[in-house]
Symmetry: C2
């Protein structure tokens, strides 16, 4: 088939599809034995930096699950390394930054990044995956959004309250905006480079943006995310805008950009879509923990989401957040089958 | 003054007030030097168990800040101890439960609780605080909500994804409901006992309920929280229903009960109040991190919340969540003054 006619890309453009497309955030991950075997031999950074390994891990869930899209295996923090950030992926704790951003001078000291050089290994992985996929399903590229990257850079690790990030935001807005502006340019350049290398859609992960209310989002985040989406829009390639915990941010996220907005399980899909309006596609929104439920309960939840989508063009089935490490792989596979089975329809 | 004519209690009943009342969740805590001095000498559990110490810690912020209500110093997990739960307040990590609930037999093994006996020390603290407050400001009692307590009991510690709690909920609903039902009865009895001892309002803390979407809330939580609020309603004492991250849960939380619904900063106060309707009071909703902002920015945020409340009767100023440990005490004090100064109005 022509790749642009794939279910997933058609849904991104709100065109009718034969079945609802489905993929999963973190579909390559610890819940899969193949991935754990790979991680037994290689660190996360090694896999990200060796295109053959990144490609192999990217393809594992495509082979095992029958999903309608592949997503590049990488880490949202990778572009920070060529910016001069000393990043350590410590076991258990999540990534730790040894030289976090705390003041204006730290922002000024960040290096310029030429994605095509310093992140060339990611782009090589994209090219390799495209060759190996050979038109089977489209490949999604991705990057972290400026807010989520900035928060990580300032906090130095994951956080619950984002005290340091918000203190900088509220206390020194020029430095905040300088950092966000730098990140937006790096992210836009990196995503466009992924598209040039062959990514057929991209997702911007603003995983932590739900820590903000709508006024703060509009003042401190929206202009920078919009810069990224404006550059993506010029490529003609579909862009997915992901956030979690975003019930009150949806109109502003739409304004920032993206062809598809990802919803989490706290936002009922029908309610979220009605807030966003009919002129945009939506992605979501099964609770990742539902994948631990007995099969009947899982089926009930998959059906409920498809019913809320109501067969309207422009729904991509996904979780509201990434697959959790202990998830039973057979349940993930079952969801792919359920989505395809329950959503069969006549193409208009 | 008559206590029932206090600003805080009038606002709970949506009666006109001379100034908007203000208090803070976790207003007794590590951000205060007096509290740190007390904790240098006594563990959290010692303070909770010795009425004189609990009273002293409760009164510290009333003296220092000029808030319009005192809130009993206690921990939401206290009622779990007489239920037979082996609870350890370890430094840094937060409370850990050594015998978490994992199956039906664990629920059956929970002890019955007679609050007036096994939690008599809390009730004695309430009586002592009332005497020492001597009508200055009202005293708020509180308890954890069934969902938040159940999640803690099942997870055994704090959690990000609530995998164990939701697995039990989705996989074994009868056991989930049995546990919630036990907790609802304990909590209702405990709060009524606090009211009998002298609490003039009570707050139910459902701190973690924002992990759920509205359908799950309605099925697995609402009936149990409603049982608690129904018993509270019969006392005639105002009840505050607190949750964080609840933008999509508000109508269901209102249905569960409470005279006041607490909103966090993700939910704009005017939007949240319009979703809830005019027949209920609201509490909130400053971001706790705003207390770290420069004074001008903090003032801008306090004014914005008061403007959203629009001078309508039934607004209690508070944070969207508890005061953070490193918060500058002078900023907390300044917010009390700002709220009182900016909200002066003619009583109808």
């Amino acid at each position: 088939m022509e790749m642009t006619d794939s279910r997933f890309l058609r849904a991104c453009r709100r065109e009718p599809v034969d079945r609802t497309p489905v993929w999963f955030m973190r579909q390559a991950g610890r819940y899969m034995a193949e991935y754990r075997a790979m991680r037994g031999k290689h660190s996360l950074l090694e896999i990200c930096r060796q295109p053959e390994l990144a490609a192999e891990v990217t393809l594992q869930p495509v082979r095992a699950l029958g999903v309608d899209a592949a997503i590049l295996f990488a880490d949202i923090l990778l572009p920070l390394i060529p910016m001069g950030i000393d990043l350590e992926f410590s076991a258990g704790e999540g990534p730790v930054i040894h030289n976090p951003i705390r003041e204006r001078a730290d922002v000024a000291a960040l290096h310029s990044v030429e994605s095509r050089e310093s992140l060339g290994h990611v782009l090589e992985a994209v090219r390799l995956i495209r060759r190996e996929l050979d038109g089977k399903v489209p490949l999604i590229g991705f990057a972290g959004a400026p807010f989520t990257l900035a928060s990580y850079l300032i906090e130095g690790s994951s956080s619950r309250s984002f005290v340091r990030a918000k203190r900088l935001m509220y206390g020194d807005p020029p430095t905040w905006h300088a950092l966000m502006s730098r990140l937006a340019r790096v992210v836009a350049d990196y995503l466009v480079a992924q598209i040039e290398a062959g990514a057929q859609a991209v997702q911007l992960f603003d995983s932590w943006v739900g820590a903000l209310g709508p006024d703060d989002y509009r003042e401190y985040v929206l202009p920078h995310s919009r810069l990224v989406f404006d550059e993506l829009h010029a490529t003609g390639i579909p862009a997915i805008h992901f956030g979690a915990d975003t019930a009150t941010l949806l109109p502003s996220m739409k304004e920032a950009g993206g062809d598809v907005i990802s919803l989490d399980w706290r936002t009922p899909l029908d309610w979220g879509w009605s807030v966003l309006g009919p002129d945009i596609a939506v992605q979501g929104n099964l609770d990742p923990v539902a994948l631990f439920a007995p099969r009947g309960e899982l089926e009930r939840r998959v059906r409920a989401i498809l019913q809320q989508a109501g067969g309207r063009p422009g729904h991509i089935f996904n979780l509201g957040h990434g697959i959790l490490p202990e998830t039973p792989v057979e349940n993930v596979k079952a969801v792919v089958e359920m989505v395809h089975e329950f959503s069969v329809r006549e193409v208009a």
